[in-house]
């Protein structure tokens, strides 16, 4: 308190700090998933720069040709698969991290094929979603997400590149991961995930509600 009986500036800041510090905070995410997102961002930036350089050197006609090379065709290496709509990185601990470029429509067939290369049995569908009733247990051991799911549906703001980390060793025998992507009328995308029994599942093109033992994300389109 000062001579007028008022709290000093330092006292006020200490009270504000105490109150804000008492808010519960989530523990930090896995640094490997953060670094995977950073690597994906760096590669996108370098690809864009390479495309711009080539266009500047060779003119518009060649630039149009490069779109086909740098776009949907995956650029592969031993540990990383990169396409226009996703990057899949193999981590040292046996997991794989998928980073989704939310501005591009996901190439479902390519992703399913690439996940299988990494030992992740998955059914990736665009405009439909496959589910088993009841779903096999173990979903939360098989996948982790960033942003972390909040309640039944998680809203992903524009500018965020969601990541999914898969642990293939945790998948129960006879199961697959179902991953359905829908284009929303708002321009955004919805992604649904759940485990299914390989021998018993149904697929529907109806936009699903939140899966009972899974996760649902809605990626907000910039400007919506």
């Amino acid at each position: 308190m000062n001579v007028h009986g008022e709290m000093s500036d330092a006292d006020v800041l200490r009270a504000a700090s105490r109150s804000l510090s008492a808010l519960p905070m989530a523990s930090p995410p896995d640094v490997q998933s953060i670094m995977a997102r950073g690597r994906a961002r760096r590669r996108r930036r370098l690809s864009a720069a390479a495309g711009l350089s080539a266009a500047a050197a060779a003119g518009t006609v060649l630039a149009l040709g490069l779109t086909g090379i740098l776009g949907p065709s995956p650029a592969r290496s031993t540990a990383t698969i990169r396409t226009a709509s996703f990057t899949l990185v193999s981590n040292a601990n046996g997991t794989a991290t998928l980073t989704i470029n939310a501005t591009e429509l996901l190439d479902a067939a390519a992703l399913q094929n690439d996940l299988q290369q990494y030992g992740i049995p998955a059914m990736v569908t665009s405009g439909s979603f496959c589910s088993s009733v009841p779903p096999p247990a173990g979903f939360s051991q098989v996948v982790s997400f960033y942003p972390r799911p909040t309640g039944s549906r998680t809203l992903v703001p524009p500018g965020t590149h969601p990541t999914v980390t898969f642990s293939p060793s945790a998948m129960p025998a006879g199961t697959e991961l179902s991953f359905g992507v829908f284009q929303l009328s708002s321009g955004g995308q919805q992604a649904d995930f759940m485990l299914i029994n390989s021998s018993s599942y149904t697929c529907s093109s109806t936009l699903p509600g939140p899966p009972p033992d899974g996760a649902q994300f809605q990626i907000v389109r910039p400007g919506s």
């Binding site: 009986g5 008022e6 709290m7 500036d9 006020v12 800041l13 009270a15 504000a16 700090s17 105490r18 109150s19 804000l20 510090s21 008492a22 808010l23 905070m25 989530a26 930090p28 995410p29 640094v31 953060i34 670094m35 997102r37 950073g38 690597r39 961002r41 760096r42 930036r45 960033y146 942003p147 972390r148 909040t150 992903v156 703001p157 524009p158 500018g159 965020t160 590149h161 907000v220 910039p222």
Partner: protein, 165 residues
């Protein structure tokens, strides 16, 4: 891990909480603040040779996180800012959490919140805050003074009631 990876991992572990608390203090919604801070750390790793030489790398992360979410927050404004947050019940006061004070913080103009949060959680001096926010040191002092005055008002209700009689 390479030396750079180890260095970044150490920075990330040590800086996650202060950066997140700073962004929560500014934007309110902890869930989206987490996403913004995670994205900012991913950008920091993508630019690590540059960010590691920055005079205040944590401030760089916070500034980047706030920029990432700025347009989204602007569109939703105060509605999300307050509605997205579970304010404490009175019983939480024992933990130091004062819901009235938190509400008062989140009702401050955004520049005042930024200046206060950068001072409290990143312990930045006036000149560094000014550089980070791209404003004059005198403007930082003005925002800090006005923000602190508003919070002092919230913290001294008895005195305010007496003055109002």
């Amino acid at each position: 891990m390479s030396d750079q990876q180890t260095e970044f991992a150490d920075f990330f572990q040590a800086s996650w909480e202060p950066c997140l608390r700073t962004v929560v203090a500014v934007v309110g919604g902890p869930q989206l603040a987490e996403d913004q801070v995670a994205e900012a750390f991913a950008k920091a790793w993508a630019l690590w040779p540059k960010v590691r030489r920055h005079p205040a790398p944590r401030a760089w992360v916070v500034r980047t996180a706030l920029n990432t979410g700025a347009s989204w927050w602007r569109r939703r404004g105060r509605e999300v800012l307050l509605a997205d947050h579970d304010l404490a019940a009175p019983g939480d006061l024992d933990s130091g959490l004062d819901s009235g004070l938190l509400t008062a913080i989140w009702r401050l103009p955004i520049r005042q919140r930024e200046v206060i949060a950068l001072r409290i959680f990143l312990d930045l001096d006036t000149a560094t805050i000014a550089r980070q926010l791209g404003i004059e040191a005198g403007t930082v002092r003005m925002h800090l003074s006005r923000g602190v005055s508003a919070l002092r008002h919230e913290l001294t209700p008895t005195r305010n009631m007496e003055a109002g009689r």
